[in-house]
């Protein structure tokens, strides 16, 4: 017969007793790719926050006498067709990408969370209707849905955010619902109902916190996707407008025209997009591995 102590798994507690540095090091060893992703994400956030300090140039101010200067000297990544420093625009572009990425991912995932949990909680006809609507939205590829929204609303940062949020909501709702369905069957939900708590309280305070793992995974995945979508929309001329620095925008126009004579116009913003999306995806994967009990023991 097991002793009471043997019934308690203290492994997790032991982990928390370690110093923070040691814990992070262990985590980095366990998740080297995720750590690399987190590093890119942090680097991007720092670059976005400190762009004004890192670079002396104005990202929007033309300096025609320096147009199409190759990388080197005072312009480490060269200049574009208006003589604007590419490094400066890449750094400020990180600000645009992060702002759009985080806002749209957070709002889209949160709205999806609420809808998904509510759909699972109420079940029946409500669930049926919500899920069929979700099916309709999921039938369209992400980019087509975003293009349709931005084509209706017009270009601009706010509209791009809305265009990205719309297709994210059903994606998150569907994933969260599947987790919430199993939670709904746990007796504490019935207990909360028996105690007379309101539906809103049960959904937001008792069910939603228990689907945080899929939510956080979706959230990080969405940030990478949102950055990519923003770049695509801007590249197609339906997103952020010049002279606002945005990576997708930097890849079009002169970047195409001067691809042979000034390849740095497309190389650096292209690298920035690739790195950012790669970083968020790696980070998201690692987060999933950490938060999913089935994967954690592997």
């Amino acid at each position: 017969m097991a002793t009471p102590q043997a019934l308690i798994d203290t492994t997790d507690l032991d982990e928390f007793r370690k110093p923070l540095g040691r814990r992070l090091w262990d985590l980095a060893r366990k998740q080297p790719l995720g750590t690399a992703g987190a590093f890119v994400v942090v680097l991007m956030a720092v670059a976005a926050a400190t762009a004004g300090i890192i670079t002396p140039f104005d990202p929007e101010r033309a300096s025609l006498q320096h147009m199409l200067t190759p990388p080197g000297g005072q312009f480490l990544m060269g200049t574009d067709e208006f003589g604007r420093d590419i490094l400066t625009r890449v750094l400020y572009g990180a600000r645009t990408a992060l702002f759009i990425g985080l806002v749209s991912a957070f709002v889209g995932a949160t709205a999806g969370l609420v809808i998904g949990v509510a759909s699972a909680y109420f079940g029946g006809l409500f669930d049926l209707i919500v899920q069929r609507i979700v099916d309709i939205f999921l039938a369209f590829p992400l980019i087509i849905m975003a293009l349709a929204v931005v084509a209706t609303l017009g270009p601009g940062v706010e509209n791009v955010i809305i265009a990205i949020i719309v297709p994210f909501i059903p994606q998150c709702a569907r994933v969260v619902r599947s987790s919430a369905l199993s939670i709904r069957e746990i007796p504490y939900v019935d207990a909360a109902r028996a105690l007379g708590y309101s539906h809103t309280r049960i959904i937001l305070r008792h069910m939603a916190p228990n689907v945080m793992a899929p939510f956080l995974i979706m959230l990080t995945y969405f940030v990478g996707q949102a950055i990519l979508l923003e770049a695509v929309l801007s590249y197609l001329g339906m997103g952020v407008q010049d002279p606002t620095p945005a990576w997708g925008l930097m890849l079009k126009g002169a970047a195409v025209e001067f691809i042979e004579s000034a390849p740095w116009l497309s190389i650096f913003p292209g690298l920035a997009i690739t790195l950012a999306v790669f970083g968020f995806n790696l980070f998201g994967d690692a987060l999933r591995d950490l938060l999913d009990p089935k994967l954690r023991s592997r």
Binding site: E60, L64, Q65, F82, P155, G237, V256
Partner: protein, 548 residues
């Protein structure tokens, strides 16, 4: 007719010795075209690329090169710009005979003799009655029938065809703007029978002309095919067996089409970098023709919105723009180059550089101009202004110049929010909704005809979207249209320009376009014109098989 060819600047860069336009001659301000005569070869199909799809097939209603380039070869005109020297304002007969007539009746009557024996592609004979019916449709369209160039002919009283070989234009007053209007390349001659039997909308979807090529097929979004008209009325022409106009919206695709020899030419114009890349890649297999372009990019302040109703604010906008510096640098990346006023640069009626420098925004000392602009804004009580700027989602030159303008205005403390819209939405905002503070706009014409072209700056003009009335300018224009001598026209034009661009700064002129046409060296006979609408019938174009 006054010939002002020497005023135009044309230049070609050629990888072959066969055809050259020399920069040295340009420096002397001379027409720089030297053509070594070659014997035209017959046969072959010309493939060329077009950036857009024509909204309809009716030249009388449309205004776009997307129609002219694939469809002009199917039609003839009464008179046209000389295809052998399209840089000049020499007009030659197309369907008329005996040369361009001198006017009678104090300059108020023009009588043309029309060719006999010409047939439409469906076999009907072409007579002066067809010419009359076509010009009646253009000049006096029934209500509800669109005619884009009706206002060009406001001097015309009536058109008569007393017999099948004579066509007479009676004017209300003598006007130097009449003949250029007549030669406009959209004035296609339709069959009277088609107009009467099928109605005025028939040509939107159908083609029946007397041009050098017969319509074969239009695959929407893909191509337009034409085949040689064996009964063409210019003897020995056309030289080609046919042509294919390939529709390719993306400029990179069009450039690569020429590079890969899927197409031989694009008639609108490429930016300088595309020219350089093609020349670098193809060497003597590519030839380049360049020319000033009768097309100018403007910005239009919406006078109905504050503070753009205040001429001080509009002047400030113009004073902030460094046109001379912009010309130097933007000409390396965009299809704009020449600094000019309201008239096509190089035309005798255009302002000289010294005259331009007297206008707001044309001074050589840009810092002094911007200081003046800031002072004007302060005087007008404008602080913290954000301009809602409507731009067209086309890179060349709209977005390039748009981004440059935003930077220029930023230097006098103005913020700009640019709304780049696809063409239909852009036009809807510019023409209908008026939901803009400032919008990009343009004045692109075909035949160089300054007296008609400058109507763009009149508040009453159908293509002016700035929403203003300026009676002084209207009166001045009436005076200009009736001025009998060139010197008087020039004097009035300067006053007109000063009001339009300086005192009232109703519209802002940015830079005039610059046309660059790189094409395969085996394409012969086509000569660049100062407009992408001109010289597109392709009857004198031939392919040099030894270079293919």
């Amino acid at each position: 007719m006054k010939n002002y060819v020497s005023g135009f600047r044309a230049r070609a860069r050629a990888g072959t010795v066969a055809s050259l336009l020399l920069g040295g001659a340009m420096g002397l301000g001379l027409s720089a075209q030297i053509v070594i005569a070659e014997e035209a070869q017959n046969g072959g199909t010309l493939n060329f690329v077009v950036a857009g799809e024509a909204p309809s097939k009716d030249g009388h209603r449309e205004q776009t090169y997307a129609l002219i380039h694939p469809y002009a070869p199917f039609y003839s005109l009464l008179i046209r710009v000389n295809p052998e020297d399209p840089q000049s304002s020499d007009f030659v007969c197309d369907l008329c005979v005996g040369g361009i007539p001198e006017p009678t009746n104090g300059g108020k009557t023009y009588t043309f003799k029309v060719k006999e024996g010409v047939t439409f592609h469906d076999g009907q004979p072409m007579t002066a009655q067809d010419v009359k019916a076509s010009y009646d449709k253009i000049i006096f369209p029934p209500e509800g029938v669109p005619s884009s160039r009706k206002t060009f002919f406001n001097m015309v009283e009536s058109v008569e065809a007393p017999d099948d070989t004579t066509i007479v234009f009676n004017l209300k007053f003598a006007s130097g703007a009449f003949m250029p209007a007549l030669a406009t390349p959209f004035n296609w001659i339709y069959s009277k029978k088609d107009l009467e039997e099928h109605g005025y909308d028939w040509h939107k979807d159908n083609v029946n002309g007397t041009g050098p090529f017969k319509f074969v097929e239009h695959q929407p979004g893909a191509f337009v095919d034409g085949a040689k008209n064996e009964n063409y009325h210019h003897e020995g022409q056309p030289h080609l067996d046919g042509f294919r106009a390939i529709i390719a919206r993306d400029m990179a695709v069009r450039i690569q089409a020429i590079r890969g020899d899927r197409a031989a030419i694009e008639f609108r114009g490429f930016p300088p970098q595309a020219r350089d890349d093609l020349v670098k890649a193809l060497g003597d297999k590519i030839m380049v023709q360049e020319s000033d372009w009768n097309c100018v990019l403007l910005y239009t302040p919406n006078h109905e919105r504050k503070p753009f109703d205040d001429p001080r604010v509009r002047r400030a906008l113009s004073l902030a723009v460094d046109r001379w510096g912009g010309s130097e640098y933007l000409s390396r990346i965009a299809i704009v180059k020449t600094v000019g006023g309201v008239v096509f640069p190089g035309h005798p009626l255009a302002a000289t550089d010294a005259e331009l420098e007297q206008l707001a925004g044309y001074g050589r000392d840009i810092e002094a101009s911007r200081a003046q602009a800031r002072a004007l804004l302060e005087e007008a009580g404008v602080t913290d202004l954000t301009i809602d700027y409507n731009n067209r989602g086309v890179d060349q030159p709209y977005k390039v110049v748009g981004t440059w303008l935003i930077d220029q205005w930023a230097q006098i403390g103005l913020k700009t929010e640019q709304q780049v819209r696809p063409s239909p939405q852009f036009y809807a905002v510019l023409r209908n909704s008026g939901e803009f503070d400032v919008s990009v706009d343009f004045n692109c014409q075909s035949v160089v005809n300054p007296i008609a072209d400058v109507t763009k700056f009149l508040g009453s003009a159908g293509n002016n979207y700035a929403n203003y009335e300026d009676q002084a300018l209207e009166d001045l224009y009436t005076e200009l249209a009736r001025a009998p001598t060139f010197d008087e026209q020039r004097t009035i034009m300067r006053k007109y320009e000063r009001i339009a661009l300086d005192e009232q700064a109703h519209l802002g002129v940015t830079l005039w376009w610059y046309k660059i046409n790189p094409h395969r060296s085996y394409v012969k006979g086509w000569k660049i014109a100062p407009s992408h609408y001109l010289n597109q019938q392709l009857d004198n174009v031939w392919l040099d098989k030894s270079l293919m």
